[in-house]
């Protein structure tokens, strides 16, 4: 490959080697590992903020209109700590925005994607490091815009994270900032995803064929494709909404639109247009938010079951299937939106079919556990719980995919239950697991396993207490995004259950302190990890912990797939990808 890049600057290398300045090393670093960690820290901080916003929501649902202690001031409630109705919608909107655009997407693609891709394929860095760095720094305008929008007049966006016009077109200034912020996140993800694709296509170590890639990399690859094709549509739609708000165009306003009893002269468009364009991105986006987690879970499961991943190729095909089908199901969010019922029917069939690749993945995970020798480390516990929880979240998706039932459960807490099960109990738990798993590689030290288990135990119990009851709330028709649902006689009996859930939610956020202490404490006091503390096969574990500049201190050459645990060919129960087969062992020494 070195012959391809004919014009590599000769001074480039020197610059890398003498990267001594603090700014160059830690802030505007071109090193994918540093960029990955920057993403990780930023997203953890936003995770905390998103959690606080969730507590605001839960407080209002448990004790409607009661002044909120302490938090009230933090989450921008009115005087006296009471949450005004418009602030409630703001909380909901910003909670979802922060969680999705600032936590889940950047932590998966940004943090783990950046950190792991070059390490796992045997590259020294990304294909275009400069753009990689920019992809992190383009998050900052978004952080500032959306963080700042809390302080503008009228507060942050209040149109729901789906920002449906016409409401969002008439909304206060915060909505413009929201749109711009999301656009910046989009630009950042774009740069990242094209970079990942190029890197994975072109920069794999010799011997690392596509079908020897770890599932994590496959998932990141497919995710990048999803992002690359879906995001531009959201960006275009976002610009159109900005134009509707600022320039008086009428893409999403119908003729004769009125707002706040004022007429709008612009019009001619159609509110449903936004929904189509938005979900064209945001449905693939939900898979962007789960595929990398699935990939990482596959790696962790196989490693601690000490057993090859069951059905590697079907797994790969099913991820690709999810990606392909993911583009033709977006209409399932719009079954009752006024969409043409014929379209609804075809989207329903496609949605049903998308459960199929997920089913294949689920069964293969179970097959991986079957007949293994399971080590219950913290990452493994999170990974198993991912499988268990994803099944719940996925199965509730079937109810909604069935169009007639969706008429009833659309926009109720059944939906809220569904996506928290896939997003929080699924992805976020997988992210916790991945942090415990790759922490030694990131920082060269182990996290405390016992405290990790305590953290897992409490999180697991509490999250089920918070989110499982939402199913039956939804069954009763309890609507989403309602500041005071107890206005309706029908829902008054649900208050005690909501209070229980809220208490659990508060505890859930509270006990995360265990994780925070473990995370930061282990950086300084954790036991030193060797290169391969988990006795794992992955290529990344053959590099030093933490890997230095250029990642590997040897030329990686790959002999097999990443899941050859307990192979009869070797003594140990693992068989690293770089270890030459026995007969060749003499020729090369690692």
């Amino acid at each position: 490959m070195s012959t391809v890049t004919v014009d590599a600057h000769s001074d480039d290398h020197a610059e890398h080697a003498h990267a001594s300045g603090f700014l160059r090393t830690y802030v505007f670093s071109l090193d994918h590992k540093v960029i990955g960690l920057q993403f990780l820290f930023s997203t953890l901080i936003w995770f905390f903020i998103g959690g606080m916003l969730a507590l605001g929501i839960r407080w209002q649902l448990a004790y409607p209109w009661a002044p909120m202690p302490i938090l009230g001031n933090l989450v921008g409630a009115a005087e006296g700590g009471q949450i005004a109705p418009e602030n409630y919608t703001m909380l909901v909107t910003m909670h979802a925005t922060v969680m999705i655009f600032f936590v889940i997407i950047p932590v998966l693609a940004g943090a783990f994607g950046n950190f792991l891709i070059p390490l796992m394929i045997g590259a020294d860095d990304m294909a275009v490091p400069t753009l990689n760095m920019l992809s992190y720094w383009f998050m900052w305008p978004a952080f500032l815009l959306i963080g700042g929008s809390f302080f503008v007049e009228g507060g942050a966006a209040q149109g729901g994270w789906t920002a449906y016009p016409p409401l969002s077109v008439f909304a206060s200034q915060g909505q413009t900032l929201w749109l711009l912020g999301v656009t910046f996140v989009g630009i950042s993800s774009m740069m990242g995803s094209i970079n990942y694709m190029t890197t994975i296509i072109q920069m794999r170590a010799p011997g690392m064929t596509m079908f020897r890639l770890p599932m994590t990399i496959w998932a990141m690859f497919i995710t990048a494709i999803l992002q690359a094709f879906a995001l531009p549509v959201l960006t275009a739609a976002g610009f159109m909404q900005v134009a509707d708000r600022l320039l008086g165009t009428g893409f999403f306003l119908s003729d004769g639109a009125t707002a706040n009893n004022m007429a709008m002269a612009s019009g001619g468009g159609q509110p449903l247009l936004w929904q189509h364009l938005f979900w064209f991105y945001s449905h693939p986006a939900v898979y962007i938010m789960i595929l990398p987690a699935m990939g990482m879970v596959s790696d962790i499961l196989s490693c601690f079951a000490r057993k090859p991943l069951f059905g590697y190729k079907p797994m790969v095909y099913s991820i690709s299937g999810i990606a392909g089908l993911g583009f033709i199901v977006w209409g399932h969010h719009m079954f009752v939106s006024g969409m043409n019922p014929m379209l609804g029917m075809s989207f329903m069939v496609a949605t049903m079919m998308i459960a199929l690749p997920s089913a294949i993945k689920t069964f293969n995970w179970l097959g991986t556990l079957w007949g293994g020798k399971i080590e219950y480390t913290t990452p493994m516990l999170f990974a198993i719980s991912f499988v268990s929880m994803f099944i719940i979240g996925g199965l509730s998706g079937i109810f909604m995919a069935a169009t007639p039932t969706d008429i009833f459960i659309h926009d109720t807490y059944f939906i809220v239950a569904h996506f928290h099960y896939v997003l929080f109990s699924g992805t976020a738990m997988a992210v916790f697991g991945a942090i415990y798993f790759w922490y030694p590689k990131m920082f060269g030290r182990m996290m405390n396993d016992s405290w990790g288990k305590v953290h897992f135990f409490l999180t697991f119990i509490l999250l089920n207490c918070v989110f499982y009851p939402m199913h039956i709330l939804g069954m009763q028709g309890f609507p989403r995004r309602l500041a005071d649902p107890y206005q309706y006689e029908t829902f008054q009996n649900l208050l005690p259950l909501n209070q229980f859930m809220s208490v659990c939610a508060f505890l859930l956020v509270g006990i995360q302190i265990i994780f925070v202490i473990n995370f930061f404490g282990s950086m300084f006091f954790g036991p030193k990890a060797g290169r391969n503390p988990w006795r794992s096969n992955g290529l990344e574990w053959q590099a030093p912990s933490p890997p230095g500049h250029g990642n590997f201190d040897f030329q990686p050459i790959i002999y097999r797939g990443p899941y050859e645990y307990s192979s009869p060919e070797v003594e140990e129960d693992y068989y690293p990808q770089t270890q030459p087969p026995p007969e060749k062992a003499e020729e090369s020494s690692v």
Partner: protein
């Protein structure tokens, strides 16, 4: 985006594609661009062909000729980029530079024409919505009112002058005449009996007098104009359209200084989509021009061929988008 960003690799790799990273990157980027413009163009298509009414190019001062010229200019620039690449490959930096410069110039010409076209729109008050927009979608009381206010404004500023020329006196006379003959009867009729057919007809005639271009398109089946118009009323524009291609002339054309509000059914949606599509295309052109300017600073030998090729790919894509925008916006 370009090879120059690449660092020197430390290891051997096994690339899947027989092309450089830069080119892979560019092609992937272009496929995302396809989706971006698909969203924009798709929006335009569905909004336009679902609209009840849509202005014809003449309604909105869109001249096909400029679109065609711009198409030609972009095609030329595509050729010059290709030739620059060939020259660079053959190690002929000065000729490559020449072609590149020509490309830059052509791109600038494109933008110049685009600017000229935009100016023409703006000078007729074709903006999206308020505050500058002069577009009204239908002639109603508010339209008449807006015409009256504009006339009053014009008159006031003319009267403020202490010394008026002959021409200015004539202008005042014209303003008075319009007010008396057209605006007032319409407003009176509609006030006397809100929404009476007579009043609405007078309003319609007022708008037709000012800007007789609100032509009817055949896809406007629901509106059923012709039938409703009957023998008592013929749109100047329909009359003009079928007989000859000569543009019907209204007050605004005869006296450009009037700049009276104009009635264009579907006009707001037209400006929205027109500026959206051409605006984003123009942005892409500008990015391309910046890239060319940067290239021009380098020695364009074979070492830079990869870079030129990648930027060329981008430029061809911009050209491609225009190839589709031209018929969609100008010829349909």
């Amino acid at each position: 985006m370009s090879d120059s960003n690449n660092h020197s690799p430390m290891f051997d790799y096994q690339p899947a594609l027989p092309i450089s990273n830069g080119k892979t990157f560019m092609w992937l980027f272009l496929s995302t661009e396809i989706m971006f413009f698909a969203a924009l163009i798709g929006t335009y298509i569905v909004l336009r062909f679902g609209a009840l009414s849509w202005p014809s190019t003449h309604d909105v001062h869109l001249a096909e000729i400029w679109g065609a010229v711009n198409t030609f200019v972009l095609i030329c620039s595509s050729v010059t980029v290709v030739l620059a690449l060939e020259a660079a490959k053959k190690n002929n930096p000065s000729s490559a530079k020449g072609w590149m410069l020509l490309t830059l110039v052509l791109g600038t010409v494109f933008l110049g024409i685009k600017m000229f076209e935009y100016r023409a729109k703006f000078s007729h008050g074709l903006y999206p919505q308020s505050p500058h927009s002069q577009i009204y979608e239908k002639p109603d009381v508010y339209y008449a009112q807006a015409v009256r206010m504009r006339l009053l404004d014009l008159k006031k500023s003319l009267l403020e002058k202490t010394e008026r020329t002959e021409a200015e006196e004539e202008r005042i006379a014209l303003i008075d005449k319009i007010s008396l003959d057209w605006v007032e009867p319409a407003e009176k009729a509609i006030r006397k009996k809100p929404d009476s057919p007579e009043g609405r007809k007078l309003l319609f005639m007022l708008s037709d007098k000012i800007y007789p271009r609100a032509s009817i398109h055949d896809h406007r089946a629901g509106a059923n104009h012709a039938a409703a118009a009957g023998p008592t009323f013929t749109l100047a524009s329909t009359a003009g359209d079928s007989a000859s291609s000569a543009h019907p002339v209204g007050l605004n054309d005869q006296h450009p200084w009037l700049r009276l509000p104009i009635m264009i059914p579907g006009g707001n949606m037209w400006v929205s989509t027109y500026f959206l599509l051409t605006g984003f295309h123009a942005l892409h052109v500008i990015v391309g021009l910046i890239a060319f300017a940067i290239l021009l600073k380098m020695t364009l030998g074979p070492a830079k061929a990869g870079l030129i090729e990648n930027i060329g790919l981008y430029w061809h894509f911009v050209d491609l988008v225009w190839i589709f925008l031209f018929p969609l916006l100008y010829l349909f």
